[in-house]
Symmetry: C2
Subunit: 250 residues, 2 copies
Amino acid sequence: MTSSVQRKRVRKSPEDRRAEIVGAAAEVALTEGLECITLRRIADQLAVRPGLISHYFPAVEDLVAEAFGSAATAELESLLPADPPDGSPLQRLTRFFARTTGPSYDDMSRLWLNARHLSRYRPVLRERVLGQEAGWRGRLGGVIAAGVEQGEFRTSDPELTAVRILVVIDGLAAHANTGLRNHPSAVTRLAAATAERELGLPDGALNPTEPTDAAAPTEPNDPAAPTDSANPTDSANPTAAPEPSAADRS
Amino acid sequence: MTSSVQRKRVRKSPEDRRAEIVGAAAEVALTEGLECITLRRIADQLAVRPGLISHYFPAVEDLVAEAFGSAATAELESLLPADPPDGSPLQRLTRFFARTTGPSYDDMSRLWLNARHLSRYRPVLRERVLGQEAGWRGRLGGVIAAGVEQGEFRTSDPELTAVRILVVIDGLAAHANTGLRNHPSAVTRLAAATAERELGLPDGALNPTEPTDAAAPTEPNDPAAPTDSANPTDSANPTAAPEPSAADRS
DNA sequence: TTGCTTATTGGTCGCACACTCAATAGCATC
DNA sequence: GATGCTATTGAGTGTGCGACCAATAAGCAA
């Protein structure tokens, strides 16, 4: 007798409902993984019927892409706000590295890893990932360019430098599911160290003044315990035309 | 009437059969992805019945882990052979970077990316990934240590240097499904450049003399076209006890 | 208050998956 | 050539998934 007698309908405007669905999906994406975005899972979360999700997203893949885009955009916006540039380029970069290499970023690391792999099978998601890459690269490149202009940094190609930094961050993120927090700080710091070198800064220039997040201590804990929550099976689209098959044929 | 009249049984020794299954699974893992290792898929490949795969691997997850381990071990062995160390440490590293940053390594990049993500949901695979990480780190660290001893390289901590290099390689591999080959060589070279810096080598010291693989030209092609073959659906183990559920309950 | 538009439901279909197990048939050995 | 071990099959179970669609009711407008 789960929650059988739950039949009060709430009728919302399409815009609201759609945003609500994307929000729920983004949350699931961050905490459990993109594979856990299923019609039933999202419907449960919102206390509606699966059919409703289908109504707004006839193809689940679109919702998956949208969820990733939403989560990644929000993260970037909080990481490197554009509207009111919070501080000098150096300050902004310092905060950027403190957060991206700290534990609070682990979910995001997992999400990027997740999206990058799933891109292999989902064209729509792949495009979204490419778009986000461009967004992050542009934003980070912009901060660097601003720093160069203000004389804080020194590099001939801000965009290229941004890519190099992001590559290192991706490399660290790759270990999010297999003990990211086991790395000595000498490894964790690789991202900031790369930036310092590329930008002509002295060693440690990008270290947070206050022990913000993953700052001072070399604390090796959390062996390798992912999200606990979900546990998606294999099968993501086995053969050439996997799930769309049924739909495609019609 | 696919291949209905195919009923000739071939009886092999358990060892042979097992090796054959792992081999097939490793091939599928490399070309199509770990999610495509299913009882049916592997059985088809070997022209046997799915039940037989189950017989040798009662839990598919074990086969998945085994397949990854097999593929990764083989790759490392071909990349940095241990038995007869093929050349000086410098030569070995040069070849190592030529191959790991070349197109022929793309499948392996995808596999690592795949395994790292799937580790999130599959404990057995996760252990295997950790084991392989250790193996690669040890092997690369060994080459570096040898180079230091012979005076070719200069670093205080070969193991740490190896980790740093591998992190950069992972970062590049992360883009295997979203246009790895679009990167300018200035990005591709990041791995070798990191190594040169860490090892006290002059810039370009690890460049292949002959345009081996991803050497000279900055060729931006192959926009973002993965393996084509498979296309696994979502669902990897949705809830706490996903597929083992059926079995677990019994 | 009555209607009407349409957001939402409930039910269903087909598919792919892992896993189980009794029955069958290679093949080495005697 | 018969025998026994066991590798292999065939058939079946249950689960979760995306997708489809006719019926229903929420809530705005008349």
